[in-house]
């Protein structure tokens, strides 16, 4: 078996060993076993993915494993890319889990399922048949659900989050199942010949199922619930690796299985992408829960990826293969970049939340003194996530915008309307992302602590810092030298004849004019900074630096209550987007008993609900409840009625069989 196959087999073997070890070992060693198992499985997956991208293939068939269909795994370039990304995420998450689980005291179930979760995510992209894909998909969903529920004994919100996640992931599974069944065959190989209507239905079902997993609006409601409640390394795995499976599914179904397809498919994907990115970043901008903010940011980034995928499909449909390759390369690079910085952000945010005892940004702050390494890690992750140079997202968003701009004339009239709107949406998203991460980093980690927990926070243990360090290194690599992964991207995309972007230090677009060098930019910035610092130091007549009291207008000392909180930071943005966010305000005034003109206490509460959830989910849930209540009338408890149902059903079946024979 080639390197690709052996890497995956090693991953599966290591994960199984780790599970057995967790079950057998005493509680002290369980987190180490689980984390090491996940990390090593990830390493195996990374090696396998890189091997698949270089062209090694393998085929594994296990006909007896599942009744009727058996299991079959095969390699491919696109699969290899996603396996590599997943493996690369599992390594830092696993290393981090060693320290996190030991201090958080997680249960045995949480430790057992961690390596299984990693391995199931590695197996999803290499599935060759529908049955295999569905089995691995369900395994991924179940293990992640059990991991999300890890802390349910300590917090009641975890159970509700788990419920939402369970229902939505299984509804998605049902849609994927229906779609794959409609294709008529078991294999996921390309070349299905379906009528346009049937192909359209399959694509829409696949889009619903995979899009829900990717966190696309309006099927995103599970994301901001499940990610904050899960342990941080699980949130990192979910946000950085699992949502990619949704993107993989859409790309594979649309381009591979159904072979391109109608233009309206890709316009629908672009619409979903644009709405997801805007809505996601808007909700993140006004969120004051650190991990919920990061969860909504995942929705935003997946929205950008879907915009790229939709644009690629649009260009492919009109025959511009080079532009399609560029758009898809931008989307895939954003997948990898997002995996890197989201892992880093979740790991550092989790470490801060664990040490400070709260996830609320309005109660954090001042962590720079007690947790300098975590602060630096989150700062670097925040820079990487906002589309600013020298960040990771800057390069992929530049590529995406280049694809959209150069493709303006290639999309026809529809393209001339849709593409500028997409550029405007990407621009607004980028601007809001900068504001969001300045808020998250500034109010969460800088200035002074706003609560006792934040004041007492100490640095995380070495294994957690090591995990953060690995993710930070990956972010740096993708930010400064994205040219390293570009050949792999081109091979994975496979839509264009040659690579759409070339070059190591300078990225050059082929077929269109455009070049960018993030490394040279960063070096120029650093050179000027050092020159300026040197000039300042060499100034004649410079005086010594004095430490002084903060300028507080001369009155009493400033307390932490006087600092700007995350809610106040986001208030202008929330006012501007009032119509979209529709915040609910609650003012409760307690008057003095004797005089209604005097006030003893005023309580002000403002909540920004998820409006799409209110408008879309509430009516659906109400309808389902009404339907269920109506259905209860069918089951009054009378045995006679039930026997009658059975008799009627058999009679009708016999009649139908007789008529259709």
């Amino acid at each position: 078996m080639s390197l690709a196959g052996s890497g995956l087999v090693l991953a599966v073997a290591v994960a199984s060993l780790a599970c057995l070890a967790v079950l057998a070992l005493p509680a002290r060693f369980r987190p180490a076993a689980a984390g090491a198992g996940a990390a090593l499985a990830g390493a195996g997956g990374l090696v396998s993915g890189i091997a698949m991208l270089s062209g090694r293939t393998f085929t594994v068939a296990l006909p007896g494993a599942l009744p009727l269909s058996g299991l079959e795994f095969t390699a491919g370039r696109l699969s290899g890319y996603f396996v590599a990304v997943t493996g690369a995420v599992a390594i830092p998450a696993g290393v981090y889990a060693i320290g996190y689980a030991r201090h958080a005291g997680t249960s045995r179930s949480a430790c057992v399922f961690l390596p299984l979760f990693a391995v199931s995510m590695l197996l999803v992209p290499v599935s060759a048949t529908a049955a295999t894909l569905l089995l691995c998909w369900e395994l991924m969903a179940l293990t992640s659900l059990l991991l999300v529920l890890a802390e349910h004994r300590r917090r009641p919100e975890v159970a509700e989050a788990g419920r939402w996640y369970a229902v939505m992931t299984h509804l998605g599974f049902a849609c994927i199942l229906a779609g794959l069944m409609l294709t008529g065959g078991g294999s996921l190989a390309a070349g299905r010949h379906l009528s346009p209507a049937l192909a359209g239905t399959v694509f829409v079902l696949a889009l619903i199922g995979f899009g829900s997993k990717a966190g696309a609006v309006p099927l995103h409601a599970w994301l901001p619930r499940a990610h904050p409640e899960a342990p941080s390394h699980v949130s990192a795995l979910m946000s950085a690796a699992m949502v990619n499976m949704g993107v993989y599914g859409i790309v594979r179904t649309g381009f591979g299985l159904l072979g391109g397809g109608a233009r309206w498919w890709w316009l629908l994907v672009m619409l979903l992408g644009v709405v997801s990115s805007l809505y996601g970043i808007l909700q993140a901008a006004v969120s004051s829960d650190l991990k919920r903010l990061l969860g909504y940011s995942t929705t935003e980034n997946m929205g950008l990826v879907l915009t790229g995928v939709g644009a690629a499909g649009l260009f492919e449909d009109s025959g511009h293969r080079m532009l399609a390759g560029l758009a898809l390369a931008a989307a895939l690079l954003h997948v990898a970049g997002h995996a890197a910085f989201k892992t880093l952000l979740f790991l550092s945010a989790g470490s801060a939340a664990q040490r400070a005892g709260t996830r609320d940004l309005d109660a954090l702050g001042g962590l720079r003194a007690g947790m300098p390494a975590t602060t630096a890690a989150f700062g670097w992750g925040a820079l990487a996530a906002s589309a600013l140079p020298p960040g990771t997202a800057f390069v992929s968003e530049w590529l995406l915008v280049q694809a959209l701009i150069h493709g303006l004339r290639s999309g026809g009239t529809i393209g001339a309307v849709v593409l500028p709107a997409a550029v405007a949406a990407v621009a607004l998203t980028a601007g809001l992302a900068v504001a969001t991460f300045v808020k998250a980093f500034g109010t969460g980690f800088l200035a002074r602590p706003r609560s006792d927990g934040a004041a007492r926070a100490t640095e995380a243990p070495a294994s957690m810092l090591a995990g953060m360090g690995l993710a930070a290194a990956a972010c740096a690599l993708l930010a400064l030298l994205p040219g390293i992964v570009l050949p792999a991207l081109a091979r994975a995309a496979g839509v264009a004849a040659g690579p759409a972007v070339t070059g190591l230090v300078t990225l050059r677009l082929s077929g269109a004019a455009g070049e960018l060098s993030p490394l040279l930019l960063t070096l120029a910035l650093l050179a000027v900074m050092m020159a300026a610092a040197g000039c300042l130091r060499a100034l004649p007549g410079r005086r010594a630096r004095r430490a002084a009291r903060l300028w507080d207008c001369g009155s009493g000392p400033l307390t932490a209550r006087m600092e700007y909180t995350a809610t106040s930071f986001a208030e202008p943005l929330q006012r501007v987007f009032d119509d979209v966010l529709a915040p609910e305000t609650d003012i409760d005034v307690t008057h003095l008993d004797e005089a209604r003109y005097l006030v003893t206490a005023v309580q002000y509460r403002r909540m920004v609900p998820d409006r799409i959830e209110h408008r879309l989910y509430r009516p659906v849930l109400a309808a389902v409840r009404a339907w269920g209540t109506a259905g209860r009338r069918l089951a009054p408890g009378s045995v006679h009625r039930y026997l009658g149902y059975g008799f009627c059903a058999v009679t009708v079946l016999l009649i139908v069989l007789a008529v259709t024979r």
Binding site: G541, R546, G554
Partner: protein
């Protein structure tokens, strides 16, 4: 907007010829450029009107290199008006501490110099020189804008 333009055209230059000033800068490091932070330690408002007139179009103290700033960290000189009341003694000292060296203090008006007509009042802590080291004093109740401009010219040396 057109009305404003016509007014600008009609009035032209309003600034009067320079007021003769006392030569010799107070602090060598500030030659040519002084940023001023005004502090009202307990004044009736009369000196503020005169300071405002000194920086207005007629006397235009800005042409000598002075400028009013909002934060004491940006300032070189504190222009203190009014007698120092009990509540303002601490804030005045903290404002002075916030100013980076080299720094100057100018006491504007009789109240700032020696409590003026409010000497011995119950809310008064003292004159400015009882709280801060004063580098220049401008007498008057209120002082004339020409005297304020002369003191500013002494600070900037222009």
């Amino acid at each position: 907007m057109l009305k404003l333009w016509r007014k600008i055209r009609a009035h032209g230059r309003v600034a009067e010829p320079p007021v003769p000033g006392r030569r010799g800068p107070l602090a060598a490091g500030l030659r040519g450029s002084v940023q001023i932070r005004h502090v009202d330690a307990g004044s009736c408002g009369g000196c503020e009107v005169e300071v405002g007139t000194a920086f207005g179009p007629v006397y235009d103290a800005e042409r000598y290199g002075a400028r009013m700033v909002a934060s004491p960290r940006h300032a070189d000189a504190l222009l203190v008006t009014g007698v120092v009341t009990r509540n303002m003694a601490g804030p005045l000292r903290r404002t002075y501490d916030a100013v980076p060296a080299p720094r100057l203090v100018v006491a504007v008006g009789d109240c700032a110099r020696d409590c003026g007509m409010l000497a011995g009042a119950y809310g008064v802590s003292g004159a400015v020189r009882d709280v801060l080291p004063v580098n220049a004093e401008i007498p008057g109740c209120p002082p004339r804008p020409e005297d304020i401009v002369a003191a500013i010219r002494e600070m900037t040396g222009r």
